[in-house]
């Protein structure tokens, strides 16, 4: 004799939720979009100036998705992922972003609303508060300043880890960028 169901009035069980695990992050084979700034004057960095160090400061960097190396080139707007990292190509240095790998939470989990904080909100900042990076570019800036009056900054993102939640085209996003020189 067949056993009676425990609760005959209960609706049929819902179909099990389809579980498809998020894939392994991989290096992207598709080149990401490069960024090139407008030209800025660099008279402050000319040979007549003495400075011990020059930094490119990049602020407000989005780091919620792919991880990547940001290769910085001066006066080489055509630089891409294949461009060798040499002084002849205007290579000035690299920075590295350890991305979060996309949002693994419910809708809104990765939205940063720091500007809406109340005065007495003492919780830690949102982990995706944008990042700041400094690239020391002393020699590259000296080289450029000895031959040119202006500089453009090109950032070539080379994706090192991205999953299907990551935009691998529009990878490098920032709010501000500046060159800072320091005397000894």
């Amino acid at each position: 004799m067949a056993r009676a169901p425990r609760n005959p009035a209960a609706p049929a069980a819902a179909a099990p939720r389809r579980l498809r695990s998020l894939g392994v992050p991989t290096r992207s084979t598709k080149p990401a979009r490069t960024f090139t700034s407008a030209a800025i004057p660099i008279a402050f960095a000319g040979p007549e100036h003495r400075y011990a160090r020059a930094d490119l400061e990049i602020d407000g960097i989005f780091h919620g998705e792919a991880s990547y190396e940001g290769r910085v080139f001066f006066n080489n707007p055509g630089a891409d992922q294949q461009t060798a990292k040499t002084a002849e190509n205007g290579y000035a240095g690299s920075f590295y972003i350890f991305g979060h790998g996309g949002c693994l939470g419910d809708p809104g989990h990765c939205d940063v609303h720091e500007h809406r904080r109340e005065d007495y909100d003492f919780r830690p900042p949102h982990p995706l508060t944008p990042a700041k990076k400094r690239v020391t570019v002393t020699q590259a800036l000296r080289d450029i300043a000895s031959t040119a009056a202006e500089v453009t900054v090109t950032v070539v993102p080379v994706v090192t880890a991205a999953n299907e939640l990551c935009d691998t085209d529009n990878v490098f996003r920032c709010a501000t960028m500046k060159l800072v020189t320091y005397n000894a």
Partner: protein, 279 residues
């Protein structure tokens, strides 16, 4: 007072030390509660997201650079959990500046797929996170880059030469970010990095470099505003983790016990000696 725990270089571990290290991870991976690998690794990225990276300046003009102290507190708790399983084991550091023939990329103890006919617990971990969106229920994997692209000793020396705390921690974090991307795979993104067993030895290397910097530069450079920040979910404040010796550990390249029983002449204190190698 008990001896300090000595964290050793992965490249110098004896067979017995590797075996104890593996055994601690194997046992932690078998525990599903808050003493186990899954829970503790999940504090970093998904599902708990406690980790600190970059400068986060929501409340103050002071840069909230907590990357180094937060991870020191994390490693302390991790190593304690290891020792709950295997007494006397310590967390070894992966020196990714080493080049062939000493090492070529991911050390073999982490890359061997199996050991003695069993899966190598240092190679991978099966994540079991059915409630993330989408779920994460698979083994961790890596896609390492060209070993020549790993940070070099010159990169580390560049960081160590920076005498300002803010400058130093930013530079060291950038090197750290580079290594995560170099390993790639799950180690390559914040959300899953701590589930990869090599994560912990990478961070021990970062913690060691900070300690090397501290021995030269002290802690006076760190903003006093940071000192009383609590490193949640742990109970430490920043000031509590500034000195590894206060947390009961130190770093060495290698350690080898020298038998003194039966030795001729007059022996001193009968403690096992610590012999630091050259790295």
């Amino acid at each position: 007072m008990a001896d300090l725990r000595i964290r050793l270089g992965v490249h110098n571990l004896s067979d017995a030390q590797v075996s104890a290290f593996r055994d601690s991870y194997r046992q932690m991976m078998a525990i599903a509660d808050n003493r186990g690998y899954q829970y503790l690794a999940g504090l970093h990225g998904t599902p708990s997201w406690y980790c600190w990276h970059h400068q986060q300046n929501a409340h103050t003009a002071q840069s909230m650079q907590l990357f180094l102290p937060w991870h020191r507190a994390y490693l302390y708790n991790w190593e304690m959990a290891m020792r709950d399983r295997v007494p006397d084991v310590t967390l070894p550091w992966w020196d990714w500046t080493l080049r062939p023939p000493r090492q070529n990329g991911v050390p073999q103890i982490f890359s061997d797929r199996s050991v003695g006919g069993q899966p190598n617990p240092l190679a991978s971990f099966r994540m079991n996170l059915p409630n993330t969106q989408p779920p994460l229920m698979r083994n961790t994997a890596r896609q390492p880059g060209d070993p020549a692209e790993l940070p070099s000793q010159a990169d580390v020396d560049d960081a160590l030469a920076r005498t300002d705390w803010s400058d130093f921690t930013d530079k060291l974090e950038d090197i750290h970010d580079n290594v995560h991307g170099w390993v790639s795979g799950d180690m390559g993104v914040v959300g899953t990095a701590a589930f990869d067993p090599i994560f912990w030895s990478h961070h021990a290397m970062i913690d060691r470099i900070w300690w090397l910097w501290q021995t030269k530069n002290g802690n006076a450079n760190i903003s006093t505003e940071l000192l009383d920040v609590v490193l949640a979910p742990f109970t430490f404040r920043v000031r509590d983790v500034l000195n590894p010796n206060d947390l009961g550990y130190d770093y060495a390249a290698a350690q080898s016990a020298i038998p003194v029983a039966g030795a001729t002449g007059s022996a001193g204190a009968p403690a096992a000696g610590a012999a630091g190698g050259s790295g």
